[in-house]
Amino acid sequence: MSDLIKGKTGDWEIVIGLEIHAQVTSNAKLFSGAATAFGAEPNTQVSIVDAAMPGMLPVINMESVKQAVRTGLALGCQINKRSIFSRKNYFYADLPQGYQISQFDKPIVGKGKIAIDMGNGEIKQIGIERLHLEQDAGKSIHDQHPKKSYIDLNRSGVTLMEIVSDPDMRSADEAAAFVTKMRSIVRYIGSCDGNMQEGSMRADVNVSVRKLGDELGIRCEIKNMNSMRFIKQAVVYEAKRQVKIIEDGGSIKQETRLFDTIKGETRSMRSKEEAHDYRYFPDPDLLPLVFDQEFIDQMAASLPELPDAKKKRFIKDFKLNDYDASILVAEKEKAAYFDAVAAVKGCDMKMAANWVVSELFGRLNKASVDIVNSPVAPESIGGLIALIKNDTINGKIAKDVFDEMFETGKDAATIIDEKGLKQVTDTGAIEAIIDDIIANNPDQVEKYRDGKSNLIGWFVGQVMKASQGKANPKAVNDILRPKLDI
């Protein structure tokens, strides 16, 4: 779904390509044995290799290679059995080697394609250009001192996967959906924790505009975006900025820009102004990375069920609608939760989907609780549904019970017992209540019998009220109507 920008000279199409940097989940760094954990004291997770001391050499972490291949497979990409690490040469204060070890013309993973779900049933295929392994840089801190920047190398050498998309996206929503999907996939397979706040996943967004049918325009790269909301804002701002420049007779300068989250604007990055010439060449400290089909097969076998496959299965096996299925598979923990509900014997999964998506997720969201900390266990949801199905409680009571479950973590049966919420299906008891209500409301009975047949609802309501909601609605109807219709 394209977001066209209405300009003075007509409609403009936004063209977006993304580069996602995902930190590979590993204990140690890509080329050194230093730790990767977030938030340590400055320079404590730095080896002499990461600090680029004289004479230091890189040795590659097997886990990084495995996770790159697994991610490539999960993205449906071609895996290159021989790839080469190259040096990308540039000077920066937090780049100790004076080069970043990356992959250039022979990356570990080649072309592929993923489907993004636009939420309205629209599925769009986005091309993946490549995935390669590279070192992260350290961190420069600019706000500690009026005249100095402070350098912490803890991140220096952490493994990143850079995933490059084709320029296939046409709206801010598509860009956000792509990042969401990518995040979902890497979290499913465990190759990256997807934590955007901590910077484990961030995106460089390339934006250009063109008149429909024209060649691609000149693009600007917006660096280091770490939230879906900002990505959307930045894309819209940047596209409008470019349209304005072009329509005012200017031209776009290819450059790197930063998104100012406070002003909601993008601005040129001063430190990147100068012309780049990265002088890539194969790193002579490393050999070509070579593996065989057997290794690739092992990695493929290690992959869990991926979101697209899971969604298909949920729709096919559980007859879920597309919307519920999409929501349930979007995050691996949510999908795992639902699979655990499905494991409860005889559970009505369509009902379960409804309870999980609208009732549980809604409450979790409100309470800002993560699904993995859900007070309601999957088995309990199964139990609740079973009690609705066998008429132990009705739907209305069930919601109260669920509130209680969410509050206390107790299961449905316990709550029903404790609170005496068991549905009244005893026809004698219901009949007594009905007789009482008919006797006490002669006016209403008369009106009904005079043809105001929709008053039946009022009567049912009175019965439910009198039974504190526990009367079985069907039984109420079955008994009430013949008595009124005499």
Binding site: I48, A51, A52, M53, P54, G55, M56, L57, P58, V59, I60, R87, N89, F91, A93, P96, Q97, G98, Y99, S149, I151, D277, R279, Y280, F281, D283, P284, D285, L286, L287
Partner: protein, 510 residues
Amino acid sequence: MSEMKNSNSLTNLTLAAARDGLQNKDFSAVELCNQYIDAIENAGELNCFITKTPEYALAMAKKSDHKIQNGTAGSMEGLPIGMKDLFCTKGVLTTAGSHILDGFKPTYESTVSQNLWDSGAVMLGKMNMDEFAMGSANITSYYGNVINPWQRNDGSNAKLVPGGSSGGSAAAVASNIVIAATGTDTGGSIRQPAAFTGIVGLKPTYGRCSRWGTIAFASSLDQAGPMTRDVRDAAIMLGAMAGFDNKDSTSVNLPVPNYEAALTGDIKGMRIGIPKEYNLDGMPSEITELWQQGAKWLKDAGAEIVDISLPHTKYALPAYYIVAPAEASSNLARYDGIRYGLRVCDDGDSLDDLYEKTRAEGFGAEVQRRILIGTYVLSAGYYDAYYLQAQKVRTKIADDFKQAWQSCDILLTPVTPTAAFGIDEKQDDPLAMYLHDIFTVPSSMAGLPAMSIPAALDNKGLPLGLQLIAKPFDEVNLLRVGHMLENMAGFNAKPQFLASNGLTSKAEGA
């Protein structure tokens, strides 16, 4: 051994002889060490050392004596060596001969130096060298020229270069102020100075010695090796230096043979290849004659001489002067004034000012030239024509050698086209300097083991060497043939400046 008591007499012993003397308890490691410390003190004018470490040496020697006493001596126990200042040594200033590493004391020990200490060797100090190992005359060191202990016999007393880049190591071994020294060889930096100073220098197969902790010049070429008084010493020392290191991705996991045992004195039936392309136009006739003589010696010892061709030889040097600077331009980017060494930064300077001033002041002219060349050949628009082309040519050079191994086992060539030259000669033209490596670079480009062996004096009384080149990881045959060549040549001339002779000849000449 009464002469042992003389001031510096122990310094005349080869490494093997000193080892045997220590084992037989003819003298102690501390005695040996003290004689070397005295010798070094008297040889200051050669400028072989950047840092002397006599206290370290004595402490290590004491430990060695203890180990020799209790029978746990290593293969180099108590032997006082010089360490090229390219090897990082824990807590000891390590400079690579450069101003930019001012004050840098590594918190770690290079694998090669650690291996040597583990085998019992004693460190006398850090040897002078061409800055970042870039040079063939040891005239690019921030710490000044090294003087060759040899002098011409023409009475000129011209100060000669020791070769480079391992010039301090070479001069010190030749003048008996260290028993042996480590060198590193990128395009000839062990073999060429060995030839210029009349000692043995061995560059092992790429991957044989770990590069971890050795300051990089050109990563695909750099290799550490021994610089010694004779071939047996080289065999012993290589055994101590070599070995697999899992911290170096290019280190090869092969067992280290007993190299000394390779010196059997039997080379019967070995095929010695003579590559015709090493005949240069205008090469001094004494170089050509020595080469022919070398072939004859080996033939007389029972080897078979085979004429072979290495057609791409002439392209090795130009390819080297693309590949090595390219790698160096990137390897030396880390010297940026941020984490160690020199920082030149004035008030109000930007980060770029800091970089540019530090690197302009910290790097000497030759290093700057190579960084710029390297940057240029990797830059957009030139990469394919230069760097990529050079790496393809390199494949062809390596293929030439592979082809040659079909018909021979070892190659024999000259080491250098000339003997040592004067410090004031030739230094204006960087290119003329590069040509000194013309015979050593091809085997470096192919990663092959090669050795320089002193074989004769030229007509001015300066040493000339012969080079042997072997198949990958065939240091055993390299040493075996080298040992035979050494025996046949019977080279036993000594430089004018020799520790055990005192400084007489030098003093008279000065």
